[in-house]
Symmetry: C2
Amino acid sequence: MDLLEKACLAWLHSVPGIGNRSLWWIKENFKSFAVFFKADNKSLQQTPFKAEVIDFVLKRRLKIDPVHELEKLLVQGFDLICYDETAYPGLLRTIPDAPILMYYRGDLAVAGNLCVAVVGSRAATTYGKTMARKIAGQLGELKITVVSGMARGIDTQAHLGVLESGGKTIAVLGSGLDVVYPKENRALFEDIGCRGLVLSEFPLHMPPEPGNFPRRNRIISGLSQGVMVIEARKKSGALITANFALEQGRDVFALPGPVTSMTSQGTNELIKQGAIPVTEIEDIINEYLHILPGECLQLQQEVLPLLEDEEAKIVEQLEFDPCHFDLILRQSGMEIGQLSTILLKLELKGIVKSLPGNYYVKI
Amino acid sequence: MDLLEKACLAWLHSVPGIGNRSLWWIKENFKSFAVFFKADNKSLQQTPFKAEVIDFVLKRRLKIDPVHELEKLLVQGFDLICYDETAYPGLLRTIPDAPILMYYRGDLAVAGNLCVAVVGSRAATTYGKTMARKIAGQLGELKITVVSGMARGIDTQAHLGVLESGGKTIAVLGSGLDVVYPKENRALFEDIGCRGLVLSEFPLHMPPEPGNFPRRNRIISGLSQGVMVIEARKKSGALITANFALEQGRDVFALPGPVTSMTSQGTNELIKQGAIPVTEIEDIINEYLHILPGECLQLQQEVLPLLEDEEAKIVEQLEFDPCHFDLILRQSGMEIGQLSTILLKLELKGIVKSLPGNYYVKI
């Protein structure tokens, strides 16, 4: 696709009233976006577009140079990928209503690995956040690309988990790439752009409007072989992503959780409806053994951290319910100093978490 | 079945080396336990029983009067039910290796209602215990008999929950009825004997030997249309009960729980293997709509406690993770006194639980 063609597509994509489906129509009927951009009034008026859309194109095209607009975008460190280009993510290409173009920063090649989405609630619990980070980290260690939405809560933890593991991650945004949302994720956005891929279907400057997120979610599932839902309320964006996954023929995984937790209601419901319950990383991996490279299968053996005997004893003793230090001490029969050391080691290994008031839980 | 016949069955049942299958063999081949009891040496020696078993019978039968032994049992407030009697629980009659006789105290008729077992870990968490009590209580309100094993933890909570709701419950013991185990459940044993049914396949004085419990578990599932497993470790008695339920063609229900909790590993595993996940009582009831009397369906509407607006607001705000009073206060915008009152009301309604250090969780 030549620069002018791409530039015209990008400009038309930013015209109010021209969406993804309209662009597919133009491609089908005009064969070229540059031809449409330069078409005479009569040809344009014979299209099914509304009068105000055609007026907008007729007036504005006199004042702008699409190639110059595209260059402004490139200068900001962003790029465009079109459906026709070979670098376009292969799996995404197969979904209904595939985006005809997307804005991105980073390395498109990471979308060519086995991709699994890890998504969930913005208002996540400690349980959900811990599990998102752990599962995403384990996927990262297995060289599986983790796709998520860079939202608060589960999404953020998923990206952090995979980055910590040295793995690759893709963030799909519901706003323009120059509108980082939520703002506190600015550093994460930069990090993912350097070490993975940030993608958006929305033109620059597009604010994170609520209506954008369901469209964004179809890309998250579209890029992925499977979608792992960590926590979700009964009516939530994560469930929309899971629905897209089903429509697109992708696997849906869900983390079981306490029925007393609002944010596990959606995931437990998914399991009731047939989603694959995930209690350990193997439950995801087992679905992809046929497409995982041998290297990953070897790595899989090493994911679980090794515990010393005394550490294992304490882990065995601890429960999901918070347990006071004194009780653990009494039950273990250890010295205070010894137990403190072990609990600290377990905390560093990410197996135990300390809570206020000298309580400990297994995570 | 006449008294002598029943008495001889009971005495033979207490002979070391004669188990349920041996008794079925005697019934098949001698047609009468009294005939076997009085059989000549030659007839006995032609049976497949071991020499020491036959010696035991030959020596002891001279010294005892089976009817007198049975009367001693009746005087203690216990009774016997045999497979041939019409009062024998109908569903239990259908299982392979059905007990040919059982000892009981209480009302056998409660086994004629729709029965659902509620079972789980001895070492249960707050989550499991709370849910066992809640679900058993809701079953009780719906006039469904709750079957369990009177063990520590989940079983105890299940019996308590249904008794609180005014419902009926059956305790199936792994020891003789005069050996209450665990000892702290003495009052519960008496209570169930008065208001429900306690059952055991084991003769009086039989201690709670580990080998008894799997046999006991087949009766728990055998009496029930379905088995609800609340919490279970990976290798646990509750899973044995679930396996019996499958073999006996009964439904298996399981409560999803955090994958980080040892006692939810077994239940999550059951769900992976196809057990019905239960997040609300309706998930159990829906399986039995065709056999529930209309009265129950009406009751079903009233199970959930009504909340006032302000209570609902706090419930909405709380999560499964412990939350400090000060944080709830800040987020609610209420006065200290008002919030304290609401939290107390919610605690009384069994919706919220206070933890040490002024933390609160939704339960």
